[in-house]
Amino acid sequence: MSTSEHKQPPYMTVWAVLFVLTIGEVFFAFSSVPKRWIVIGLVLMAIWKAVLVAMYYMHLRFEPKRMWILAMSPLPLAVILVVVVIQEWR
């Protein structure tokens, strides 16, 4: 049986960060910053939020390293999928 123990994750702190980032995203999306920087900023904020959910709410941070490898495994496949579709379009 697995017995890995850890302190209770900072659920409410993560929630507060997610809330602030969501508000920040909406304001940033309609700011006067050049479109390219808006896209880069929004993508970074979205990735940040997604990583927070995966790390703390899905408890990936507290899982064995083997689970990390498993969780990361579809990412290169996802990149291949998108690249192949782009080639099809071009």
Partner: protein
């Protein structure tokens, strides 16, 4: 001290991965879902760059404020879900049921708002699978003309996500029903944990969809 993988009597640990089989199965299912949504999101991004005239600017047709609020609701439902998990880890049956019920309500609210949004958008002229759409613009009431790809991709992505949320709510109801029967304990709560994994994944996907579909 809290445990995410508390020793249980009904969990069978998978030798290779170090987690119990039920949880490993849910992770593998979620990884297949990653590929599913990658296909949808990737196609959307490529189509949008290939046919920019088909797509309206953010906020021109879609109600960003309403959806931002709905995003916040889904994030809150993730918090209530982890609270339910934390409660049963400590053997708190009342807390488990209370937080599960809150998650169900928030999830159902999310789906309800999405249905309201669909009704509003279609009544304003933004429909899927049309040769072209002519939606009523939000800012000045002007007509926004676009191509068929926007409606098709928008309803495809948000529709599939909404279906996942709806299935999640039904599964949450089943989990709540089992919780009311006292099926989960401090040492046996694998069902709550894998339910939480699915629910947080749905939240994670929406975080990405909201940014890509509504803001960019």
């Amino acid at each position: 001290m809290m445990t995410t993988q508390a020793a249980t009597i009904d969990r069978v640990r998978e030798e290779g991965s170090g987690v119990y089989t039920l949880k490993l199965g849910m992770w593998i299912f979620l990884l297949s879902e990653v590929m599913f949504f990658t296909g949808l999101i990737g196609s959307y991004i490529i189509l949008r760059f290939a046919h920019p005239t088909d797509f309206a600017d953010p906020g021109q047709v879609l109600n960003v404020q309403l959806t931002a609020f709905n995003t916040f609701v889904l994030i809150c439902s993730s918090v209530t879900m982890v609270k339910a998990f934390a409660a049963i880890e400590q053997g708190d049956q009342v807390g488990l049921k209370r937080w599960l019920l809150a998650t169900i309500i928030l999830g159902a609210f999310f789906v309800g708002v999405q249905v309201v949004e669909y009704i509003a958008l279609t009544s304003e002229g933004f429909v899927p699978m049309a040769e072209a759409y002519a939606a009523l613009g939000r800012e000045h009431g002007t007509t926004v003309i676009g191509g068929p790809l926007y409606g098709a991709t928008f309803y495809m992505m948000t529709g599939f996500h909404g279906t996942h949320v709806t299935i999640g709510v039904l599964c949450l109801m089943f989990t709540y029903w089992r919780a009311r029967q006292g099926k989960y304990t401090a040492t046996s709560h694998g069902g709550v944990e894998i339910m939480g994994l699915y629910w947080h994944f749905v939240d994670l996907v929406w975080i990405l969809l909201f940014t890509i579909v509504y803001l960019i």
